[in-house]
């Protein structure tokens, strides 16, 4: 992540605050920053979303293309992730500087989505063994102020929800080969079921307590963090520990228990933009705006 210099006095101040459940910007240890989600921002993609979590801005575009299915799983399509840490976020990402972080983020995303239940990959199949839909999910980091994983996962969920895949008609041509026709009607499309798409929650260990949605300053004071991806039913799909410090096994269990609490309101609040009729009271405010404007 983009690094920020924190002095010893500031570190002590943050540590003491977290110990008393009061962070620098007034939040509690388990409170998220204000989040804004906008869908359908880039018109020549099949689905897109922009998420602002405090000062962290992430833009995700999904493009669907027809490709060959993987040999081991001929009845399924697949997803390809690419994270672009652009120089907009910080000058350190200029040229090849952002590649390392980008690769780390995309590898984590592959692990998070690498299971049967997140996305119904069978619905992406056109003809088994020959054609399938490949969804290219491209993440663009615009501003970086800590907690990238959470913002990226929410943006991916919103973008996949927004994705419209054109319906396909298979026909036989003269030589007996298959021909694929895409319907021209922009409304004749297939939507994806994103109920089981997991959301990632990052917990940073600061002092003896853990905080959710850490800013860059808090990240600089923490020794290690735990990244947990969880679906709205409470199923955990991936757990990763990052950072140079070590975590006590008890603190890991403590963290996962905390995860059971906020994830139901957090991931169900991710459904807020997707089911406008359902109002769920959440711990943090989520505003949904479905306009086409980028800012």
């Amino acid at each position: 992540m983009a690094t920020v210099q924190v002095s010893e006095a500031e570190k002590v101040y943050i540590l003491h605050g977290v110990r008393d459940d009061l962070r620098v910007d007034g939040r509690g240890c388990e409170d998220y920053r204000h989040m804004e989600i906008e869908t359908d921002v880039v018109s020549n993609t099949d689905g897109s979303a922009k998420v602002s979590l405090g000062h962290t801005d992430v833009l995700v575009g999904v493009k669907a293309e027809i490709g060959k299915p993987r040999p081991m799983v001929p009845h399924e399509g697949y997803l390809e992730f690419f994270v672009d840490c652009s120089a907009n976020a910080t000058p350190e990402f200029e040229g090849r500087g952002g590649d390392e972080l980008g690769v780390e983020l995309s590898n984590t995303l592959y692990k998070v989505f690498n299971n049967r239940s997140s996305i119904d990959l069978k619905s992406l199949c056109i003809s088994p063994g020959e054609h399938c839909w490949v969804l290219y999910v491209d993440v663009l980091l615009l501003q970086c102020d800590g907690n990238l994983f959470d913002a990226i996962s929410v943006a991916i969920k919103a973008a996949l929800f927004n994705t419209k895949i054109p319906k396909v008609h298979l026909s036989e041509n003269e030589e007996g080969g298959k021909e694929i026709e895409l319907s021209d009607d922009p409304y004749d499309c297939m939507r994806l079921n994103v109920e089981n798409v997991p959301c990632i929650v990052t917990l940073c260990k600061v002092g003896y307590r853990h905080v959710v949605d850490a800013t860059l300053q808090e990240k600089a004071c923490s020794v290690a963090s735990l990244i947990i991806s969880v679906t709205h039913k409470g199923t955990i799909t991936c757990v990763r520990k990052v950072g140079g410090g070590s975590l006590d096994p008890e603190s890991i269990f403590e963290m996962t228990e905390v995860r059971q609490d906020p994830p139901p309101p957090y991931s169900s609040s991710c459904h807020l933009p997707f089911r406008p009729s359902q109002h769920i009271s959440t711990g943090f405010p989520v505003r949904r705006s479905n306009c086409n404007r980028f800012v």
């Binding site: 880039v42 018109s43 020549n44 993609t45 897109s48 000062h55 801005d57 833009l59 575009g61 999904v62 493009k63 293309e65 690419f82 672009d84 652009s86 120089a87 907009n88 976020a89 910080t90 000058p91 200029e94 040229g95 090849r96 290219y136 491209d138 663009l140 615009l142 501003q143 970086c144 102020d145 980028f294 800012v295």
Partner: protein, 245 residues
């Protein structure tokens, strides 16, 4: 022939514009709080985002430091989903490097670099959606971002493309018109003095037509500069209203 499709008999282009009509330009300044200056511009369907960091100390290679003026460092990149066909590499390919160099040249002509010796100004431009006129959108967005960062410039830098079809110059080409194979001229202008910061033309053109084409491009740039000026003044009003002046 490509010319027949690009300009109809009644004088309308593919998207319904007249020959000298520009696309709708919408811009906003100060979109990112963390950067020193930022701006977002939409020219028709082309969307560009520019971010400016600086002036600050020269990073990485100290040898690049100039003793009497600032170094301008530009990077042009496109989002992978910006084009109709997905782009695999956002930056680092030849076209992006060439564009970055052009942007650097353009802004070295406009920014008062001798006020900041031994320092560096970074301009990063990202194309979010590409529909022709990429370079012009970048230059316009970068101008607004540099103004937002408070870095002094000689004048606005406005850019626009122009083409030539059926003895008529077309202003502000979209992607279909650019790739149609006809002439395409990109011009970056400092409107008050009429100085040209960058001029680039592809494809063949008879030398008699060059004058007309350049005139058309310069008029289009002046039109764009009016819009940019409007955006800057409005932004200043909003900001000064917030600070209570």
């Amino acid at each position: 022939m490509a010319g027949v499709e690009l300009l109809s008999d009644q004088g309308y282009r593919l998207d319904g514009r007249k020959a000298t009509e520009l696309r709708k330009v919408q811009a906003r300044m100060g979109v990112f709080a963390q950067a020193d200056g930022s701006a977002y511009i939409e020219q028709g369907n082309t969307k560009a985002l520019a971010v400016v960091y600086g002036p600050h100390e020269v990073r990485m290679s100290r040898s690049k430091t100039l003793h009497d003026r600032a170094v301008i460092n530009c990077q042009y990149s496109m989002a992978t989903f910006s084009t109709a066909e997905r782009k695999r590499r956002p930056h680092g390919d030849r076209k992006s490097t060439e564009m970055s160099l052009h942007l650097k040249q353009t802004f070295e002509a406009a920014v008062l670099t001798n006020l900041y010796p031994r320092s560096q100004i970074d301009i990063y431009v990202k194309i979010l959606q590409s529909d022709g006129g990429n370079y012009s959108a970048c230059v316009n967005a970068a101008t607004l971002a540099v103004i937002d960062a408070g870095i002094p410039m000689r004048d606005y830098v406005c850019a626009c493309t122009a083409g030539f079809v059926d003895e008529t110059p077309l202003a502000d080409l979209c992607h279909a018109e650019e790739s149609g194979g006809g002439t395409s001229l990109a011009l970056a202008l400092l409107p008050r003095g009429g100085h040209i910061a960058l001029l680039q033309m592809d494809a063949r053109l008879h030398q008699d037509h060059l004058e007309t084409l350049m005139e058309a491009a310069m008029t289009a740039c002046k039109g764009v500069s009016k819009v940019l000026d409007q955006v800057v003044r409005q932004h200043l009003q909003e900001v000064s209203a917030l600070t209570g002046e």
